[in-house]
C-alpha cells in the first residue's frame, strides 16, 4: 500500500499508465498479438527516430522553454548530409560534421535570442522553423536544382549511423536512442546539472540568484535540441541513401506529445527521462502498432488526442499529489 502510493508520486508513472492503457486497448479492441507487436521493428524504429530528439526537448521543456524549430532541423540535417556527400561528392566525414554544425549554429541562434530578448521561445523557434524551411528548400534548389538528392555512404558510416541490426529490420539508431537515454538520464537525475535545469524550470530568477549559469545552460539546451534533430536527419539520409526537402513538420507535434505523455509539465520544472522514454514508446506503439490491430489506422490520431489530454490531466494531478505527499520517516 505504501509502495503503491509512493509509486504514484513518481514522475514516470503517468507514462507507464498510458502505455498499459494503450496495450490493453489494442489487445481488447484490436485483437493485437503481443508477440508479433513486440517483435516488430516498425514502431521501435519510429520510437528511436523521435526519441533521440525527445530527450533534449524534454530537458529543454523541464527548464521551462520549448523548441519547435526541430521540425525543420530533421530535413535540414538530412539535406546537408546529402548535398555535401552526394551532390558535391565530398567525404562522408565532412558531411556529418556539416550536418551537426548546422544544428549547432541554429541552436546557438535560438539560445542566444532566447537569453537576450524576452520573446517567448515558442515564437523565436517558430521564426527559425519557418526560416530554416525556406533556407533548406531554396538552398537545395539553388545548389542541386532539385528537392531530392541521392547519396552513397561508405561502409563505416552505414554501420554506425544507418544500418540494420540483428540481421533484421531494426535500425542502428535504436542503439543510439538507448545509449542517449542513459546519458540523458544521468545528466538529468544524477548529475548536479540536472538539478540546475529543474531549478530553472521551477523559478528562473531564483536559479540565477543561486549562482546557476542560467543563460549558458539555456543556450546549450537549444544547441542540444537542434543538433539532435539534425543528427536524426543525417542518420536517415545515410540509411535511405537519399534526402528530401519535405517532411519533419509532423515530427514537431509527435515529439512534443511524446514528451508530455512522458510526464513532463508544460510549465517546466517537473518530469523524468524514464517517463519520456516510455512516453515515446507509447506514442510509437499507437502510431505504428495500430497496423497490427483490426482497428482502422485513421483512428490513431483520435487515440493520440485522448492520450494527450489524459496525460496533461494526469501530470497535473500527479504534480499536486507529489507536493502534498507527506512521506514517513522510515524510508530515507
Amino acid at each position: 500500500m505504501d509502495m503503491i502510493s509512493s509509486l504514484l508520486r513518481r514522475p514516470a508513472t503517468p507514462s507507464i499508465l498510458s502505455l498499459i492503457g494503450v496495450l490493453v486497448f489494442y489487445v481488447i479492441f484490436g485483437g493485437v498479438d503481443l508477440d508479433r507487436l513486440s517483435g516488430a521493428a516498425s514502431w521501435v524504429n519510429y520510437a528511436a527516430r523521435i526519441g533521440i530528439v525527445a530527450l533534449p526537448v524534454a530537458l529543454l521543456m523541464i527548464s521551462g522553454e520549448i523548441d519547435i524549430s526541430i521540425g525543420a532541423m530533421i530535413p535540414a540535417g538530412a539535406m546537408t548530409t546529402a548535398i555535401i556527400a552526394g551532390h558535391y561528392g565530398l567525404p562522408m566525414g565532412v558531411a556529418i560534421l556539416g550536418a551537426l554544425a548546422i544544428g549547432v549554429v541554429v541552436g546557438l541562434f535560438n539560445g542566444i535570442l532566447a537569453t537576450r530578448t524576452s520573446v517567448p521561445t515558442l515564437i523565436i523557434t517558430l521564426g527559425t522553423l519557418v526560416a530554416m524551411q525556406g533556407i533548406v528548400l531554396a538552398g537545395s534548389k539553388l545548389l542541386t536544382g532539385g528537392a531530392s538528392v541521392p547519396l552513397t555512404s561508405p561502409a563505416w558510416a552505414k554501420t554506425i549511423f544507418g544500418d540494420f541490426i540483428f540481421g533484421g529490420s531494426h535500425q542502428v539508431v535504436i542503439l543510439w536512442w538507448v545509449v542517449l537515454t542513459a546519458v540523458f538520464w544521468f545528466l538529468a537525475h544524477l548529475s548536479k546539472y540536472g538539478n540546475w535545469i529543474f531549478a530553472m524550470g521551477g523559478d528562473k530568477v531564483s536559479a540565477r540568484n543561486a549562482g546557476i549559469p542560467v543563460d549558458l545552460i539555456t543556450i546549450l539546451l537549444f544547441v542540444g535540441t537542434a543538433t539532435s534533430a539534425s543528427f536524426v536527419g543525417m542518420c536517415h539520409a545515410i540509411l535511405f541513401n537519399s534526402a528530401q526537402v519535405s517532411g519533419g513538420m509532423n515530427d514537431i507535434f509527435n515529439i512534443v506529445v511524446s514528451v508530455v505523455v512522458g510526464g513532463v509539465l508544460l510549465t517546466g520544472g517537473f518530469g523524468s527521462i524514464i517517463g519520456v522514454f516510455v512516453g515515446t514508446i507509447t506514442f510509437a506503439i499507437v502510431i505504428k502498432g495500430i497496423d497490427f490491430t483490426a482497428i482502422d489506422r485513421n483512428w490513431a490520431n483520435l487515440i493520440i488526442g485522448v492520450m494527450l489530454l489524459a496525460a496533461v490531466a494526469m501530470n497535473e494531478t500527479f504534480r499536486k499529489k507529489a507536493m502534498t505527499a507527506v512521506t514517513k520517516k522510515k524510508k530515507g
Binding site: 538539478n195 540546475w196 529543474f198 531564483s206 536559479a207 540568484n209 543561486a210 549562482g211 505527499a325 530515507g332
Partner: protein, 276 residues
Amino acid sequence: MSATTPVIELRNVDKSFGPIDVLHEISLKVRAGEVLCLLGDNGAGKSTLIKTLAGVHAPTRGEILVDGEPVTFSGPKDAQNRGIATVHQFGGTYPLMSVGRNFFMGEEPTIGFGPFKIFDRKTANKIAVEEVQKMGITRITDGDRLVGGLSGGERQSLAIARAVYFGARVLILDEPTAALGVKQAAHVLRIVNEAKRRGLAVIFITHQVMHAMTVGDHFAVLIRGAIAADFRKGEKTREEITDLMAGGETMADLEASIEGYMETHDGHAPQMNTAG
C-alpha cells in the same frame, strides 16, 4: 577584526534603472551580532537596496564595503562567496524539488570522479534535514519530500537554514514574515534571534512594526529611496515608527486626508495605489 568594523557598509549608494532613480545616497552599517531593520512603504526601494547588497544589481554610484574593504560584486554568487546570503522577497525555493535538492541548489555535494560525479542525495538529504531541524522545524524528517508541500514558514526556515549552513556572515531577509500566520512568524523571528546569537549580521525587512521591534537593534527608514531616519532600539516609540513607515506622514495626517477626500468625493474612500 575589531568589534567596531562593520561587516557590511554602504557609502552614498545610488541606484537608477535608466532614468528612474530608485535609491539616493544610502549610507548604512551593520555589525556582527546586530539586526538592522529596514522599514519603509511599498515601493520605497527596500528590495532594490538588498538586491544591490546581494550582487543582483550593481550600484550606480557609491561603494559597498565588506569588513572595511571596498568591494564590487560580479554577481549574486560572488556576494554569496563573500558571506552575504539573501533570502529574497519572492521565490528562493523550488516547489517541485525535494528538500535536499533545494537546500544544496548551486552547491551540490557530489560523489564519484571526472564526468561521472553524481549528486550525493543521501548526504544532501541528511544535512538538509539536520540543519532545518536545528532551526526548530522538527516536522521535516524526509529530505526527499517536495518543498511545495511545506508551509510558508517552513520554506522560509529552509532558506534561512541554508544561508546559515553555507557560512553566511550577513543574512539578508526580505519580508520573511509577510505571508505568515502569527505562530510561523514568531518562529522566523526566533530564527533571526538565533542567527544574531551566532554572530551573524542580519538585515531584516518588514512592514510589521511589532516584528521589527521584537528583533531589531537598529532601524533605518527608507522613504522614496532615501534614508529618512536612522535610530537605535529604544530611541523611538512604536507610534513614531509606525508614522515613519507610513512614508513620513503621521497616522493622524493620513486619517485627516482620507476624511478630506471623502468629503470631496461623495463619501468614497480613495483608491489604494500601491507600487512595487
